[in-house]
Subunit: 414 residues, 2 copies
C-alpha cells in the first residue's frame, strides 16, 4: 500500500495556491427505512451544492472498508498519514490529554487516570470509586495538585476529566513512556506498582519515569488517605506524541489548524500545524481564518457540531448544524482566489444519526480548484457524490489529490 | 500492493485470442468553466462509441491518486509493471537516449550530455554553452565522433539532441552505470571528474566505466579546445535499461510494439516487445499492424498526436487527432476476430488542454472482448466511462484484465 509520506515528498514543489480543508466532523449519514433521507439530503445547502457543481466529487474511506475510525486515525489519514502505520498510533494517554484540553508537548509523557477505591488491606474494591461526579473529580484533582512533590525538574499536570477520569502529563527531560499500566483491570488485588514495560527494563529513561511515577502515586495516595471512596489512583496508557514528520518537512507547507476543540488541535499539532486562536463555532472559526488567511498554505478547519448531533442521534440538530455551515460557507470561500486556491470539504468519518456513533461509511468529498474536473454532480450528499469524478479514495490519498490540484506535485519520473 | 508480475505468471495459460492495446496518449482531459466539454466529448467518435456500447468501460489511474506520471512509468504500468517498484525506474540517460531515437541495448550505459562553456581557468561560466542551436549541436557531435579514441572494444554513440543537449551511449562488456554526474550544477567551478557512485566505489565495472568516460572526456575536450563557447561536456544520469522480465517470459506472449516515436519503442523494448517497423501516423501504424497481425499475441499501438495537442493546449487539434483515430479505427478492428480477440483503448496518462501538460486525472478505458460485460455505457468519454463495469483500476491491473478476457489466466487456487 502506498505510503503518501514516502511517495509524495520527493515530488513536492512550491506554489502560491492555498489549500483549505474543511472537515465537517461526522457529516456522512445513512438512508434507512426509518430515516429515508440523510441529514445532507434533508438540509438546504445551496452553497455546498454550488461547490459540488463547480468542482469534483467523490468519497473517502477513512481507514479501510468496514473500519470505523476514532478521531485520531480519521484525521491523521486526512492529513496524509497511513492510519494503519504503527508510527501513526496516538497513545491513549496522549489522546485523553488532548481531548481534555491539556497541552502535550513533544517528549511529554501522558497517562489516563482513574480514581478508585481500595479496602483496608489495600485491595481494590471499585476501579471507578463509585463513579464519582465530574465535580467531585475536579475537587480531587485540585487536592492532587496541592500534594505534588518536588520531582527534580519534572513538571506535572493533573486535569480532571469526566466522572472518575483524570489525565496526568509529565514534562521533563529524558523520560520514557514505556511504562506498564498500574491498573490491574481486576478487583481483590492492589494496584500494580509502576514498572517499565518488559522491552524497556534496561532503559534508563524508563527507570527514571518509574521512579517519578512512584513518588507521585505515593504523594497522591497520602493526600487521598482521608477520602471515603477515592483513595487510590490507577494509571493506564502511558504515551508520548507520535513522532511524525511535519507538513512543513514533508511538503514545505505552512500549515495552520482552526479547530475549537482540543482533540483536533492535538492531532493537528502532531502533524506539525500551527494552532490558530479560534472559538468553537464555525462563524468564529471563519473569522479566525479571515485574519490569518495569508499566514498559511494549508488551512485545516474543523466543525464539531455535526458529529455531536450524530452522536446524540438527533436528526434535526444535525440538519441545523449542516445548514449553519452552509450559511457561513460563502464567508470562507470569499477569502480564496478561485483562479488558484483549492478548497476541499469532507469528514474524518461518518456519524450516522440512526447509529448515534462513529461508523465506517464513506464520507462525501468535494474539491473545487481550477484544475478540478467539473463533473456532473449537482449536490453535496452521500448519494450524489457517488458518481463524481474523484471516485472512491482512501482518506490518506486526499493529500496527494490536494497537492496535485494546488500545483504542488512534480511529475513522477520521466 | 499486488505486483502483477508475481501474481499473474503462475496463472498464465495459452490461448489463440490476441490482445490489442491501443494507447491514445494523453487522451483524457478536463471539463472546466472555460472548457465545458472535453475533447472526447466534443469529437465525433462513432467508432470509439460503438466499442463502448459493445464492451466494458472504466478508468485507469496510472500510478496513484494525484500522481502525474512521466511517459515511462505511465506505459510500464499499462504493460503490467508496478510503476512504483524501484526496478521499474528507467534512468534519465536511457530515457533521453530512447527519446532521441538512439538504440539502447541491455548492458549499454547511457548518459545525458550538455555542451558547456569554461573560462581560461577551466571554471564553468555557462552550463548550456549560450544555448547553442540544434544545428550547432549536430556539428559539435560530429566533431566528437571524429575524435573518438580507441576504447578497448567499447562502442560509443554520440547523438545530438535539442539545443545544447546530446546523448552518449557506451556499449561494451562489463560496464556499470553507477557513475556520479560530472555536471556540478553550479558555475565558477570546473566539471567534476568522472567517479563511481559512493555505493559502487569498490566495483571493478564502475572503475572501468570511469576510466572509459575519463578518456572520452579528455578526447572530447581536446577536440573542442578551439570552440569559443562549447569547450566542455557535462554528463548526467548514467543509467542502463532496467532489467525487467519480458512479456514472453512472464505470460508466454509474443508481443509487438507499433509506435512511431522512439521513447515508446524504448519502453516497449524494456518489456521485451519486438519493435515493428511503422510510421508515425495512426494510418501508417494500422497498416503496419495489418501486415504483422498474425505474428503477435499482444500488440501495443501508440498514438502520439493527442498528447502533442494536449501539450500545446490546442483543443481543436486534440479533437482532430481523436477524430483521426476514430476514422481509422474500423481498419484496425477489421483485422480482429470479434469472437475471440480482445481490444482495449486507453492512455498512459491524461494531457488536459487547459493544463497543457501531463496530469494525474484518470484515463478512460474500454475493453471489447467476447467475455466482456456489455455495460450501459454508450460513449467513450471521461464522464460516460465513469459508470462502466470495469470501474476504477490502477493501470498496472490492466494486464490481468486483458489476459483474463483473452482466456489467458487460469483459476487462482481451487
Amino acid at each position: 500500500m502506498t505510503d503518501p509520506t514516502r511517495l509524495l515528498p520527493p515530488l513536492a514543489q512550491d506554489s502560491t495556491a492555498r489549500i483549505v480543508l474543511l472537515v465537517i466532523d461526522g457529516v456522512g449519514d445513512l438512508r434507512t427505512a426509518d430515516q429515508p433521507r440523510t441529514p445532507l439530503e434533508v438540509a438546504d445547502t445551496p452553497n455546498l451544492d454550488r461547490l459540488a457543481r463547480e468542482g469534483s466529487c467523490g468519497r473517502l474511506t477513512p481507514v479501510a472498508p468496514g473500519i470505523t475510525p476514532g478521531s485520531g486515525p480519521g484525521h491523521l489519514a486526512l492529513f496524509g498519514h497511513d492510519p494503519l502505520a504503527p508510527e501513526a498510533d496516538i497513545g491513549r494517554g496522549v489522546l485523553e490529554a488532548l481531548g481534555a484540553g491539556v497541552e502535550v508537548g513533544r517528549g511529554d509523557v501522558a497517562a489516563r487516570g482513574n480514581f478508585a477505591t481500595a479496602d483496608g488491606k489495600g485491595d481494590l474494591v471499585d476501579r471507578r470509586a463509585g463513579r464519582i461526579s465530574t465535580e467531585e473529580c475536579r475537587r480531587l484533582c485540585a487536592k492532587l495538585r496541592d500534594a505534588l512533590p518536588d520531582l527534580d525538574g519534572v513538571d506535572v499536570t493533573v486535569a480532571a476529566g469526566e466522572g472518575h477520569r483524570f489525565v496526568l502529563v509529565l514534562r521533563g527531560d529524558e523520560l520514557s513512556a514505556d511504562l506498564a499500566d498500574t491498573d490491574p483491570q481486576e478487583l481483590g488485588v492492589p494496584p500494580h506498582e509502576p514498572r517499565p514495560l518488559p522491552s524497556a527494563s534496561d532503559d534508563e529513561r524508563a527507570v527514571r519515569a518509574v521512579e517519578i511515577v512512584s513518588r507521585l502515586i505515593e504523594s497522591f495516595e497520602s493526600a487521598l488517605s482521608d477520602e471515603p471512596r477515592a483513595n487510590r489512583v490507577l494509571l493506564r496508557g502511558f504515551s508520548k506524541l507520535p513522532d511524525l514528520p511535519s507538513l512543513a518537512d514533508l511538503y514545505g507547507l505552512r500549515a495552520g489548524a482552526f479547530a475549537g476543540y482540543p482533540l483536533y488541535r492535538g492531532v493537528a499539532r502532531v502533524c506539525g500545524m500551527e494552532i490558530a486562536d479560534c472559538g468553537k463555532s464555525f462563524q468564529e472559526i471563519v473569522e479566525a481564518v479571515s485574519s490569518r488567511a495569508d499566514d498559511f498554505d494549508y488551512l485545516f478547519l474543523h466543525v464539531k457540531r455535526t458529529d455531536m448531533a450524530g452522536e446524540d442521534g438527533d436528526l434535526d440538530a444535525k440538519v441545523a448544524a449542516i445548514e449553519e455551515v452552509d450559511g457561513i460557507l460563502p464567508q470562507l470561500t470569499s477569502l480564496l482566489d478561485p483562479d488558484e486556491d483549492v478548497v476541499a470539504i469532507t469528514a474524518d468519518h461518518s456519524t450516522p444519526v440512526p447509529m448515534a456513533a462513529h461508523s465506517w461509511h464513506p464520507s462525501p468529498l468535494v474539491v473545487r480548484a481550477p484544475r478540478a474536473f467539473v463533473d456532473p454532480v449537482e449536490r453535496y450528499d452521500e448519494v450524489s457524490v457517488r458518481s463524481g469524478h474523484l471516485g472512491d479514495l482512501l482518506s490518506k490519498d486526499l493529500m496527494a489529490i490536494l497537492l496535485a490540484h494546488a500545483g504542488r506535485l512534480k511529475k513522477f519520473r520521466a
